[in-house]
């Protein structure tokens, strides 16, 4: 099972902005039926959607970066990849800290894939808001899943994932909001991965929290 894209999409309205929901794409290479799940966190207020594009050649790793405008903060983000989905996989989709002088990863979004096919176009999206968010991360080198919890009383809006090591060696399976008790799933985000080969990996989950 591989997660191949996870991104905000533009619906049939005429505004041309990817503000209408969240899309997930996956590949099932197993002998059993599975499911692909998309989760959208929907709100109001001023939101800007920034994107960055890069070409990733065959049999290489690569990605793209999208930066939020100066005074805005990342509330979420994702990555879309064109072409045959069986030939690539996500290895990173996470918020990053730019050169704004603070240590919060609020400045935009970074992504990385491994492309086992022909050339691919990678589009990274940053969903940016005026309000400050709180950023939490949690890592493990001993499990296929790791939870990043939002502070008590806050609500998860976006999530990310990063896997250490060479991108050819591991792929993402989940960047999913969760609930510690009952819905809605606003407690934080859980990241999942599966290793293809190579030395053990460190999996990091990122949760972006409001309130």
């Amino acid at each position: 099972m591989r997660l191949t894209s996870s991104f905000p999409f533009d619906g049939p309205d005429a505004d041309g902005r990817p503000d209408d929901g969240w899309e997930a794409q996956g590949v099932n290479l197993t002998g059993a039926s599975k499911a692909v799940t998309a989760n959208a966190t929907c709100g109001s207020g001023r939101v800007r959607y920034k994107s960055g594009r890069e070409r990733v050649h065959g049999s290489t790793a690569g990605g793209a970066e999208a930066r939020c405008p100066g005074s805005m903060h990342a509330s979420g983000g994702g990555i879309s990849v064109d072409g045959l989905a069986t030939d690539h996989w996500l290895n990173r989709s996470r918020p990053f800290d730019g050169d704004d002088g603070n240590a919060a990863p609020d400045d935009g979004w970074q992504s990385r894939i491994y492309n086992d096919g022909t050339g691919r176009r990678v589009v990274t999206f940053a969903v940016c808001v005026n309000e400050r968010r709180r950023y939490r991360d949690n890592s493990t080198d001993a499990a296929d899943f790791v939870f990043a919890d939002c502070p008590t009383g806050s609500h998860g809006t976006g999530g990310g994932l990063s896997i250490s090591g060479a991108p050819i060696e591991a792929h993402a399976t989940a960047i999913d909001p969760f609930s510690a008790s009952v819905n809605p799933p606003d407690t934080g985000f859980v990241a999942g991965f599966s290793q293809n080969f190579g030395p053990p990996k460190t999996l990091t989950s990122f949760a972006i929290c409001a309130g």
Binding site: G11, R17, A35, T37, A38, T41, T86, V127, P184
Partner: protein
């Protein structure tokens, strides 16, 4: 079985395999509830066995816009709290 027949069988298997690759229609969205001014919407689509691809789209309610999201192709474990 001759080489030509074996090749025919192999092509048949490949054709069936490639036939399984393609978009699968998403099901209806589920409203998982609201908190803190946010509404959480989920959509899930079956990924058939074999080399299949599928997409799911969770649509925000009218009058709202997406501020983040996530995705999964594996069932995630319960939070260890």
């Amino acid at each position: 079985m001759g080489a030509f027949t074996r090749r025919g069988v192999s092509m048949g298997v490949l054709t069936m395999l490639l036939g399984a690759i393609g978009p699968v229609t998403a099901s209806a969205d589920t409203d998982l509830g609201s908190a803190g001014g946010f509404t959480y919407i989920q959509d899930q689509t079956t990924l058939p066995m074999g080399a299949s691809t599928a997409s799911a789209q969770a649509d925000c309610p009218s009058g709202t816009k997406v501020v983040g999201g996530g995705a999964a192709v594996e069932a995630v474990p319960t939070h260890p709290r």
